[in-house]
């Protein structure tokens, strides 16, 4: 048994899953399952949203311990799915360790949705959510336009690797600004609030929120709290962006001051 390769395989699997939005307990479970196939005596893994620590030890080998820092996290659930599938196939004995490692290396190169698809998806998500929250279909069309511009900002921020929280602030303020301007320009009775509510849905921290709850339930308190804080900061960033624009709008209208 090539235990070093096994260890590398387990860590890479954990790395991919953690980077792409899996819950912490699932990452720990996957690493433990893979390492367990070695039948060595000591198998430990400790995972937080920002790092992986794992140890493998046995009387027959030198102890291996590895710490890996995770600094960038995105959401790409298809990679989580694929990694889960490969590790499961390996643990069931359908793949050898070399095959499984080779396959895992290709996961990162698997094509994702094209920019055009994402662009349309962002727009229509905003539009359909406006309908979900009882908006008029004209509101939905405006929200679609705003959603598409949100996609453009997203691409821009991803290309220059800018801070995610900054993206939420900018996204929120652009949504509010466009909603205010468009409802002023187009002379129909449109509801600005519904448009904004529908359009901020792509920014709402649903994944961080869901994972925070699930990690806490599983007893991973460190991960649960840190993800909850992440969700809170994202919500606060969106609030700042939208709030600032609304505040300026009401000030220009001569509305009430803070």
């Amino acid at each position: 048994m090539n235990y070093k390769l096994l260890f590398k395989f387990a860590l890479l699997a954990g790395d991919i899953m953690l980077k792409n939005g899996a819950e912490t307990y699932r990452v720990e479970d996957t690493i433990n399952r893979i390492l367990r196939t070695s039948h060595f005596r000591v198998i430990e893994s400790f995972v937080t949203p920002t790092g992986i620590m794992a140890t493998l030890d046995d009387p027959s080998i030198d102890m291996i311990t590895y710490v890996r820092r995770i600094d960038k996290r995105t959401i790409n659930l298809s990679k989580v799915e694929l990694t889960n599938d490969i590790s499961r196939q390996y643990c069931q004995g359908n793949l050898t360790i070399e095959e499984a490692y080779e396959e895992l290396l290709t996961v990162n190169k698997k094509p994702t949705y094209s920019k055009i698809t994402l662009f349309i998806a962002y727009g229509l998500v905003a539009g359909f959510f406006t309908l979900v929250f009882e908006g008029h279909y004209l509101d939905a069309i405006v929200a679609t336009v705003i959603g598409c511009s949100l996609a453009l900002i997203h691409f821009l921020f991803r290309r220059y690797e800018l801070n995610k929280f900054f993206y939420d602030i900018v996204g929120g303020s652009v949504i509010a600004l466009m909603a205010i301007l468009l409802t002023k320009v187009i002379p129909f009775g449109m509801d600005m609030n519904v448009i904004i509510i529908g359009s901020i849905m792509p920014l709402v921290p649903g994944v961080a929120f869901t994972n925070a709850i699930r990690d806490t339930i599983e007893g991973n308190l460190v991960s649960g709290v840190s993800r909850a804080v992440e969700a809170l900061i994202v919500a606060a960033s969106i609030a700042t962006g939208v709030g600032v624009m609304l505040k300026i709008y009401y000030m220009l209208q001569g509305g009430v001051g803070l």
Partner: protein
């Protein structure tokens, strides 16, 4: 209401694309979202918003678990997609709106409301996670090997 449920389906379906969920699972993600929102809407006239959100989240959680077993996929995939319509984004926005207007009574009202909704979703997830859990591997040997010391 039919329009709302159908839009919830498409909204969740398209949201799954933003999360890069693979094409094979998109349909099931959409169904999760639509069913959750449908249950929420049906129970809304009978109950409070919090209880309706709880029932909706419970439906999503159970359905996600069933789909996860059928499709042999991590339950997260369906859960994250399905829960999105129920996440209290709208209430949060109302709170921000009243901060901008300086009406702090309403800020407290909507701020607490969003906390209550988040709590309702959390409880719904706890219920299913505690009653159903897949087989986990056990830890046998804690501590280090004595021979290596």
């Amino acid at each position: 209401m039919i329009i709302q449920v159908v839009s919830a389906f498409f909204a969740t379906y398209l949201f799954s694309i933003i999360f890069n969920i693979s094409k094979r699972q998109l349909l099931f993600c959409g169904i999760c979202g639509a069913v959750g929102w449908c249950i929420y809407l049906i129970s809304l006239p009978l109950n409070s918003v919090v209880l309706s959100t709880f029932l909706g989240a419970l439906a999503v959680r159970i359905l996600a678990q069933i789909f996860a077993v059928i499709r042999k996929t991590p339950v997260t995939v369906f859960l994250i997609a399905g829960i999105i319509p129920l996440v209290p984004g709208a209430v949060l926005y109302q709170a921000i709106y009243y901060i901008a207007q300086g009406e702090y009574d309403n800020v407290t009202l909507y701020g607490l409301q969003s906390l209550k909704l988040a709590g309702a979703i959390a409880v719904a997830m706890v219920l299913v996670s505690s009653t159903y859990r897949p087989r986990r591997i056990k830890r046998e040997n804690n501590g280090l090997c004595s021979k290596n010391k």
